[in-house]
């Protein structure tokens, strides 16, 4: 018996080995081609999900996207709120950050902050909240079995947040600590100054919390801000996971019914941006690698030529290793690790074109000159058929990834609802691939010529001024030769007041 068992085991493994070998031998007869173009792939048919299949207009006010998914016993609920830094009163800059952070972390009427967090943590539930420039969000991820408990907590958080005094004070201190680091990392300085150049000193998105503004915010300010904006007419909901659709809709109606306070409908987002005058803007910072951003005025994502702009940008610098800026600055010359361009259409106001890289101080000017050269080239010569095809096929064939998980489906449709894309263009995703396919070489050249205008370029450089101006012996170009030869010294800003500092 013992022997038999061993033999049969040995036999079965022998069979499987033989089977595999035979199969491998059979396929081996087809020689492996020397080029991948010689491979043949079966067709892939893909249709994106239809937003109408998930869209529910709740009686209580919000629109919800409800996407059942029974694979795992988890539920993911996200609430998007029409509020943001843009509605902050000018003397209360920072109130949205504090209110957003403390909504889910500052307790409720019946629970202290500590009780709330302990209760959620024992259920391994993740409740988060925050407010950004033009959107607030509250999210809850929990096990399906805890849904009712979770929704009860969420309702209390949304309607009766405590904004516990000691938690306000603590977060004010945390924000102050974060402010002190504003000039420590050259990447942070760069990001901030990009905003000033792209939108202007006076634009609302360039109002930064200061030690004084944050210190002056009170619990009453947080309550007022919350009451003003956190009510169902300003909500859009995305929910996915292990539930029955009708049951979830009923629960959402209860969640948002009978609000204890009336709020205000959020105003339109101001769009009064101003773009910097052409020049090189230099922030002196003692690091051995300079950070460079070449900037130009941008577009909206609803721009009728947006798909041509997106394809053009991918060929220029947005397509990673297939793009021209990457090929020249990084791969040919070894001047940078990261080299890119970006031309994202703004949702509410134009987002700038940006091309950038980081290079050792002495080669900053040379690498910048290469980026400008490539911007000029794409605006004067047609791209190749191969470049156009590569980027179009990439956009078309990676399209299914936009809806890879059910949580992504719910979030993407809720975002379209929130930003008005669904109302304006309900078949945006259905026709997405056709719009990419329609882009021609002429379109690419035309949009490049229209938008990549060398005489309007603003160049931001953050790094060691002396070394950067010195240049590199074997590359004679100087920073002062670029952007019309105008060099503007940009002082660092005091991290606590954001006022320019004297040296």
């Amino acid at each position: 018996m013992h022997t038999f068992t061993l033999r049969s085991l040995a036999l079965s493994s022998l069979v499987s080995t033989l089977g595999l070998a035979a199969f491998a031998a059979a396929t081996d007869t087809a020689a492996i081609p020397d080029r991948p173009e010689k491979l043949h792939f079966p067709p892939l048919v893909y249709e994106p999900p239809n937003p109408a299949d998930y869209r529910v207009e709740l009686k209580a006010g919000p629109v919800a996207y409800v996407v059942p998914d029974h694979e795992l016993p988890l539920i993911n609920l996200a609430l998007y709120v029409r509020t943001g830094q843009y509605v902050e009163p000018a003397d209360k800059v920072g109130v949205s950050e504090l209110a957003g952070y403390l909504l889910a972390r500052g307790g409720t009427e019946s629970m202290t902050a500590e009780e709330l967090e302990e209760k959620l943590d024992f259920l391994a539930a993740q409740l988060n909240s925050g407010i950004g420039e033009t959107q607030g969000s509250v999210s809850l991820n929990l096990l399906a079995k805890d849904l009712d408990t979770g929704l009860d907590i969420l309702r209390e958080v949304l309607t009766k947040p405590r904004f516990q005094a000691d938690k306000i004070k603590l977060h004010q201190e945390q924000l102050l600590q974060a402010m002190k680091q504003r000039n420590d990392d050259s990447a942070d300085i760069e990001e901030r100054e990009q905003g000033f150049l792209a939108f202007g000193e006076k634009f609302w998105a360039n109002r930064y919390p200061t030690a004084a503004s944050v210190g002056g915010i009170t619990r009453d300010d947080l309550r007022a801000f919350h009451h003003q904006w956190f009510h169902p007419a300003n909500f859009v909901v995305a929910v996915s996971g292990d539930f029955d659709r009708e049951a979830m809709v009923a629960k959402l109606e209860t969640l948002f019914a009978d609000r204890p306070f009336q709020g205000e409908k959020s105003p339109a987002i101001p769009t009064n941006t101003t773009f910097a005058a052409p020049a090189v803007y230099l922030v002196d910072k003692d690091v051995n690698q300079g950070r460079v951003t070449v900037m130009l005025p941008g577009v909206l994502r609803d721009d009728p030529e947006y798909f041509a702009i997106a394809v053009m940008n991918r060929i220029l610098g947005g397509g990673g290793f297939t793009s021209r800026i990457m090929n020249r600055v990084r791969s040919d010359e070894g001047l940078a690790y990261s080299a890119y361009s970006s031309f994202q259409g703004g949702v509410y106001y134009p987002q700038p074109f940006e091309a950038g890289f980081q290079s050792k101080s002495r080669t900053v000017a040379y690498a910048t000159s290469i980026v400008l050269e490539e911007m000029k080239r794409i605006a004067t010569e047609p791209v190749t058929d191969e470049e156009l095809e590569t980027e179009k096929r990439s956009l078309i064939d990676t399209f299914p990834r936009a809806f890879a998980t059910k949580a992504q489906v719910a979030a993407r449709f809720a975002d379209d609802e929130f930003t008005g894309r669904f109302a304006k263009n309900p078949t945006y995703w259905k026709t997405y691939r056709d719009k990419v396919a329609a882009v021609t070489k002429d379109d690419v050249l035309r949009v490049a010529k229209e938008h990549l205008t060398p005489d309007r370029v603003a160049i931001l450089v953050v790094g060691q001024k002396d070394q950067i101006l010195l240049g590199y012996p074997s590359h004679p170009v100087k920073l002062t030769d670029l952007a019309g030869g105008k060099l503007v010294d940009v002082p660092l800003r005091d991290p606590l007041t954001m006022q320019p500092m004297t040296k």
Binding site: T27, L39, L72, D121, E173, I217, G334
Partner: protein, 593 residues
């Protein structure tokens, strides 16, 4: 194409990154909810291992191969080679990346001849540096005349090669076929290459990956070496804490090859030769040292047959990669590093603990979780309780050859990092003295158990858990670690706390803000350094003061005494008065609490 040094160097950004990235395996657990990942394991005839997870959520396949070699397999002089090599793996094959494979190889050989001569000049330049004749080897003016001549020659050969190059063709093929997220990372213990392809193009992945493993061509080697040096500048040299973290890491590991940074020392990167890279490939990129992983929409039997056909072509390596035999000696005395950096005051503490799969690693992970999050002991004890910190963290990091425990925090205004340090020790002492209450332990275990489900949320989440588990030593841990974590008892936690958290087993980094980078208020410009130092703490307090009456009283008393103040103190008093008035005006404008 990045270094996963952040897995080990503990910058603030990295802490977040680590939680995001490693929580997928650190937090795998849950007896009650045990959720097994159905992994099919196979070994190809040449010794290459293959892991398959079939999932039909979306029409894609995420694929990776993990090489069981990282910076821990290097030696001084070639530190950074595992990472540079990872970059070179994207440069193509005899048919990908060039129009003329023969001419391409000829030019590479000619380039190497010039480079050999340049290396002789570099040898001379290093000698000049040792004598003190030059101080900076990176400065172009310090190159010898002969070096510059050779560099010009080399540049001509690069231009000749460029005639035949098809730039970044390896990437372009994948991109134009709808692949996405192509990248790779290098870690101390492993190097992994990953990408997602449309479900109908699994064979493309087989072709591309097997071709580059079978016969990679390391063209454009020296430009890529410069790219890697820029990567070092970007991640290590031009960030506020990069250089300090590198030094601290190096101080912590005495003997193990974790002692040097993954990206390599600044002296070594520009000295690595193509011949050394060839040798590294021959030693470590043999099939028996590699695991293939596929997660997504495919049929396992087809995938296995195709893998056998494509990857089976690669011959089994003649010799196995050498083992790392060094064991970290027991640390006999506490180590301390005092740094002044452009950062808020903070403390970072490391203890030597245990490697991946060690029986104590599960209790240490539970212990880390007990200390972490806003309901954890460090936050409660240091941020909310003693109010000495504004942020804290704790984590266990189990690597292949050894492990560490890391905890730290940022000091609150008016408190020193050493106070944060002491408070961390006090929390650890409580864990040594008293067993963790049942409810608290259960809370932590519930979170590990829920993570069992969360870890299955996408193909790429599963792929990365398999990459790390396999790279650290055993992919089965993706399904086994959870049970072991649920089995941890309060006594286990107490025992590991006593075993590992001793004074002589730790290294401590204390960071203070570098004086010259203190934020400068324009109003202070006219004051002496001494006056600034005197005034600053007062101005800090003023920013958070809320009692208007007190401020008014302070102002009145100052005005009273201003006349008696020495002349040189007058500007300082003026500044303070101005600030007081500003703050009062601000408070009066704001509505009352």
């Amino acid at each position: 194409m990045k270094i996963l040094e952040r897995l080990a160097t503990r910058s603030a950004g990295f802490r977040r990154g680590l939680r995001g990235c490693l929580s997928v395996w650190l937090l795998s657990g849950g007896v009650a909810l045990a959720q097994q990942v159905p992994v099919g394991e196979h070994t190809l005839p040449n010794g290459m291992k293959m892991l398959l997870v079939e999932r039909h959520d979306e029409p894609t396949v995420s694929g990776a191969f993990v090489v069981h070699a990282g910076s821990a397999n290097e030696r001084p002089g070639i530190t950074g080679i595992a990472h540079l090599f990872e970059h070179m793996m994207f440069k193509g094959t005899p048919t990908i990346g060039t129009k003329d494979a023969k001419r391409d190889l000829e030019i590479i050989a000619e380039q190497e001849q010039v480079r050999d001569q340049m290396r002789q000049e570099e040898h001379k330049m290093r000698a000049e540096w040792r004598r003190g004749d030059i101080t900076d080897l990176q400065k172009p003016e310090n190159q010898t005349a002969r070096y510059r001549e050779l560099e010009a020659q080399f540049k001509q050969l690069v231009e000749a090669q460029r005639e035949e190059l098809v730039k970044n063709e390896f990437d372009r093929i994948y991109t134009s076929e709808g692949a996405s997220g192509m990248n790779a990372f290098t870690h101390y213990d492993m190097t992994a290459y990953f990408i997602t392809v449309p479900a109908n193009k699994l064979e493309l992945w087989m072709w591309m990956e097997s071709e580059r493993l079978l016969h990679p061509v390391f063209r454009e080697f020296y430009a890529e070496r410069d790219v890697v040096f820029e990567e070092r500048r970007m991640r290590t040299e031009s960030t506020p804490l990069g250089k300090f973290e590198e030094e601290f890491n190096s101080m912590f590991w005495e003997a193990l090859p974790y002692h040097w940074p993954i990206v390599g020392w600044a002296s070594d990167i520009p000295a690595i030769s193509k011949a050394e890279a060839d040798q590294f490939y021959a030693t470590y990129y043999a099939p028996q040292n590699i695991t293939l992983i596929l997660v997504g929409d495919f049929k396992p039997e087809t995938a296995l047959a195709e893998a056998t056909r494509y990857f089976g072509r690669i011959p089994h390596g003649k010799v196995d990669a050498p083992d790392v035999v060094t064991l970290e000696p027991r640390q006999e005395a506490e180590k301390r590093m005092n740094a002044e950096a452009e950062t808020n005051p903070q403390v970072d503490i490391l203890w030597h603990t245990v490697p991946f799969g060690h029986k104590d690693s599960y209790a240490l992970e539970v212990l880390a979780q007990l200390l972490s999050t806003r309901t954890g002991r460090l936050y409660k004890g240091l941020v909310l309780g003693r109010e000495v910190a504004t942020d804290t963290f704790a984590r266990q990091e189990s690597r292949h050859w050894a492990g560490l425990f890391n905890a730290g925090g940022e000091a609150r205004e008016g408190h020193a990092p050493t106070e944060v340090e002491q408070a961390i020790y006090d929390e650890l002492d409580k864990l040594k003295e008293t067993p963790v209450p049942a409810e608290e332990l259960q809370k932590v275990k519930n979170n590990f158990a829920a993570a069992e489900y969360r870890k299955l949320s996408s193909n790429s989440a599963i792929l990365f858990q398999l990459i790390f588990n396999d790279g650290f030593g055993d992919w089965h841990e993706i399904n086994e670690a959870g049970k072991k974590i649920q089995a941890v008892t309060a006594e286990d936690v107490q025992r590991v706390a006593k075993t590992y958290f001793t004074k002589e087993n730790r290294a401590v980094a204390i960071y203070l803000r570098k004086a010259s980078t203190e934020p400068e208020d324009p109003l202070l410009a006219g004051l002496s350094a001494e006056q600034k130092a005197q005034l600053k703490p007062q101005l800090e307090r003023l920013k958070t003061a809320t009692d208007v009456e007190k401020l008014r009283a302070g102002l009145a008393s100052m005005e009273q005494h201003a006349a008696q103040a020495p002349a040189e103190a007058k500007p300082m008093i003026e500044v303070l008065k101005k600030k007081l008035l500003e703050r009062i005006a601000e408070l009066e404008k704001a509505p009352k609490n």
